[in-house]
Subunit: 131 residues, 2 copies
């Protein structure tokens, strides 16, 4: 069946809260390749997923170049041995980076707890001084 849902650029833009310019820009950068009906871009569910990956990458501070790598890691890309080993190398690197981010986040969470506790304490003090 050819009954796959498709999306216009405007729909994707609304759904993910980005501008159409942004989506076209990602295409320029080789991250998306939607089909065309005439001039008009038609996005598949797969395209939609790719966009989701890019935006997730952004939330983690990745550049588009990094996100592109991650996306292509996911497409097996008919490889020879060297390429596969290089791929595994990159995966290992990314994993290390993610671990670093995890520890960074945990530390920051602790600091936020701290900061909030102090803020609440300061508010209590205000109350008391006021009385």
């Amino acid at each position: 069946m050819d009954t796959q849902k498709t999306y216009t650029i405007g729909e994707l833009a609304r759904d993910f809260d980005v501008t159409t310019r942004t989506i076209r820009f990602y295409e320029d950068q080789g991250l998306l390749s939607p089909r065309r009906r005439g001039q008009t871009r038609i996005y598949s569910p797969a395209d939609r997923t790719t966009l989701k990956l890019i935006l997730r990458g952004k939330r983690l501070g990745f550049s588009l170049a990094e996100s592109r790598e991650l996306i292509f890691m996911y497409r097996p890309a008919r490889d020879n041995r060297e390429q596969l080993e290089a791929l595994i190398g990159k995966i290992t690197e990314k994993r290390a980076q993610l671990e670093q981010q995890l520890t960074d986040i945990r530390i920051l969470q602790g600091e936020l707890d701290d900061a909030e506790a102090r803020a609440r304490q300061a508010m209590e003090n205000l109350e008391n001084d006021h009385v």
Copy 2:
């Protein structure tokens, strides 16, 4: 005692693997305010910590503006009630953002596991085809 260790800009640059230009840029942006001995900048352990915070922020994809907020969250800053409530609001927001990042990371980790498994499988297949 005034026996606090101090650092030159070059030392900090080496220690954190950034350029001196970068450190001066952060000062321009109001993130660092080292003492001066004549013209020369002298960094305290506190300055060093601030720099560490900025770089951790970068690893998490924060802008310098965001890092600046985080840094000032940590300095109690003599507040009234409104300010304190605004502060707590920001802390809550940041926490939500960090939670989002955590889930993003976990999903990505799973995908990396996946990708590596497939890559290893592809390598095995290569061996076999070759034999």
